[in-house]
């Protein structure tokens, strides 16, 4: 069969297929996509069972949850547990601790990877750069239990290496882990140690997309190394910085439970006890499910407001935004 005949024969059917797909009825779409839906089914079930069922379970914060009656049949109590939480004098402390710990982490932890990425970017020796990267990513993959264990053992007043060093300089040993003033610095520093390298990845990726001509042009204009960093490198990664800043601001109240739980002890509750650890103690520990859930939902909504506001501000000020 000559070629043009094939194409001629194929033509009408192709165009009708296009027409059909444009005007396809729901039934036809379903028929075409049924195998895709089948592939998606386990994922859908996962999200419904482990993400949306708990959201539905949030209603126990408005109920007096009774283990035997279950979520549905327990009695409604309205905002009782929210009022209880807001009237509890400890609540202010919890919110303050959570907020301050998140803020410290943001203020000191957020710029750290940017600085490190810019330093790495200035290295000309490819082997050395690779070496620094490989090493600095490592702690990200160590478990929180191990990191907390290392922190506590290294800072131990009697046998810790940090106190050995302090003594070698003629200073008194410090019992770090029972000093409330020291909990935040210790936590934030250990977080930076653990994640700073890993967080440089996004910035390093953003740095590779900067046009080398910009550097050449700035060199022609007589820019030194420092000027090039300020006028070319930094503006080049600003979009990445803004996006990550929005995300981080949104998560200020959403500090990981695990690390704080592993590091803290009753001696430092006054600065270390945050909402999620309190929720764990009252909820799982004492079985006050409704009360603990109310606290959690309260902060969840505040977090949502945070991320929404951060995004809104960034859209007004610059043109970068998450959505």
């Amino acid at each position: 069969m000559p070629l043009n005949e094939i194409t001629a024969a194929a033509q009408p059917s192709v165009s009708s297929a296009v027409k059909r797909s444009v005007r396809s009825s729901p039934l036809q779409r379903w028929n075409k996509g049924k195998y895709l839906l089948l592939l998606f089914l386990p994922t859908l079930l996962y999200y419904l069972m482990f993400k949306y069922a708990p959201m539905f379970g949030l209603m126990i914060s408005f109920k007096n949850y009774n283990l035997f009656k279950g979520i549905w049949a327990s009695d409604w109590v309205g905002l009782k547990y929210y009022r209880l939480f807001l009237n509890n004098p400890d609540s202010f402390l919890l919110i303050k601790n959570t907020f301050l710990l998140g803020l410290y982490k943001l203020v000191f932890g957020f710029p750290a990877p940017i600085v490190l990425a810019i330093l790495m970017n200035e290295v000309k020796n490819a082997f050395f750069k690779r070496f620094v990267q490989t090493v600095s990513y490592l702690p990200h993959f160590i478990s929180n239990v191990v990191v907390a264990g290392m922190v506590i053992l290294f800072l131990s007043p009697s046998s810790g290496v940090v106190n050995h060093m302090l003594q070698a300089f003629g200073l008194d040993p410090i019992n770090f882990m029972v000093k409330p003033d020291l909990f935040r610095p210790v936590y934030v520093l250990s977080e930076i140690w653990q994640h700073v390298g890993w967080e440089t990845i996004i910035y390093l990726a953003a740095l590779t997309s900067i046009d080398p001509q910009l550097y050449e042009a700035s060199e022609m204009d007589g820019a030194g190394r420092w000027k090039k960093i300020v006028h070319v490198t930094l503006p080049g990664i600003t979009p990445a910085i803004v996006i990550l800043l929005i995300l981080n601001v949104g998560h200020v109240l959403d500090i990981g439970f695990e690390k704080v739980f592993l590091l803290y002890n009753p001696a430092v509750y006054e600065t270390a006890d945050i909402i999620s650890t309190y929720v764990y103690r009252t909820g799982i520990g004492q079985g006050n499910y409704s009360y603990a859930t109310a606290i959690d939902l309260f902060t969840g909504i505040v977090s949502l407001v945070f991320i929404y506001s951060a995004n809104w501000i960034s859209r007004k000020v610059g043109d970068t935004s998450l959505w």
Binding site: R29, Y35, L36, L37, L39, P42, T43, Y46, Y47, M49, F50, K51, Y52, A53, P54, M55, F56, G57, L58, I60, I71, L116, L119, E122, V123, K124, F128, F131, T134, V135, Y137, L138, F141, I142, S143, V145, V146, A148, G149, I152, L153, F154, S156, V161, H164, I201, I202, R225, A240, F257, E258, F261, V279, G283, I284, Y289, A292, T293, L297, G300
Partner: protein, 288 residues
């Protein structure tokens, strides 16, 4: 093509070496102490090289039945969990990367929403409990089976795949399931390895699920036993007292040895797998 070195390069080099030292020295120190003779540990003479090399602490750790049981548990959880997670995530990511899927937009929204809002710890605990998962292997596998981040990374990868692959599959009479398993998965080994590693490390390090959902000591993973020994000082091994000397310090070397034993697999494989990890993070950062 060695570029000229100047003072700034030197300062940057020293700063970065400082970062490297701050990262590595804690590990080196732990290993050195755990391998040293207790007398030298007591005197505080061990710095970065073991003194009076011996493996006593490691023998103690490996003879502790809690460690061995939890080690096996963790390996089981990692093997089962990674398989399940990878299978569900890749299938879901492939489906959601196709615009032809009915309700494509709704499902995408449904997934992304969970990144910003969740039911929180207590309702999740109650739900997991109501499914009868408490104290079963599945408590370590199912509640964390999908990480939305990983799912989105995979979706991005699949949607960048050339259309022709699918079309050739269609011509051969395959449906979407056949295309996925016989064409798409074999071409995606790089992303599967990457995400598989993320899941494996995540499950290896998972402490919260065990804390919430496991009561039975025989099912404890390594991280829980590690916490009990290192953070709560539950060293009950009878051999410890016979080691003699200041128990507090000996405790420390035993704790370091426990940490090293539980972290060794990651420390050993990490240099070889590092480039996969980075690739995964890169795909994820291109577009969310």
């Amino acid at each position: 093509m060695k570029a000229k070195w100047n003072g700034t390069d030197l300062i940057i080099g020293i700063l970065l070496l400082g970062v490297v030292a701050a990262t590595l020295l804690p590990f080196v120190y732990m290993i050195a102490v755990s391998l040293s003779k207790d007398v030298y540990v007591l005197k505080g003479e061990v710095s970065l090289w073991p003194k009076g090399f011996n493996l006593k602490m490691y023998r103690l750790v490996l003879n502790d039945p809690r460690i061995t049981t939890s080690y096996l548990n963790t390996i089981l959880y990692v093997a089962l969990g990674t398989t399940v997670s990878l299978l569900i995530t890749s299938a879901g990511a492939f489906a959601i990367s196709k615009k032809e899927m009915p309700l494509h937009k709704t499902f995408t929204l449904l997934i992304v929403f969970t990144m910003f809002f969740s039911g929180g710890m207590i309702p999740t605990f109650l739900v997991v409990k109501s499914y009868g998962l408490i104290d079963t292997i599945w408590a370590m596998v199912l509640p964390t089976a999908i990480s939305t981040w990983n799912l989105i990374v995979m979706r991005t990868f699949f949607s960048a795949m050339p259309k022709e692959i699918e079309e050739s599959g269609k011509l051969d009479g395959l449906n979407d399931i056949g295309i996925f398993f016989r064409l798409v998965l074999p071409l995606s080994t790089a992303v599967l390895a990457t995400i598989g590693l993320f899941y494996a490390v995540g499950i290896w390090n998972n402490f919260t699920s065990a804390l919430l959902y496991l009561r039975d000591q025989d099912r404890f993973p390594l991280q829980v036993v590690l916490r009990n020994i290192v953070l709560q000082g539950q060293i009950t091994s009878s051999d410890v007292s016979s080691v003699g000397g200041d128990n507090l310090v000996v405790d420390d070397s035993l704790k370091f040895a426990t940490i090293v034993v539980s972290t060794l697999p990651i420390l050993l494989v990490y240099p070889f797998l590092q480039k996969y990890f980075v690739k995964g993070a890169m795909i994820g950062s291109v577009k969310g």
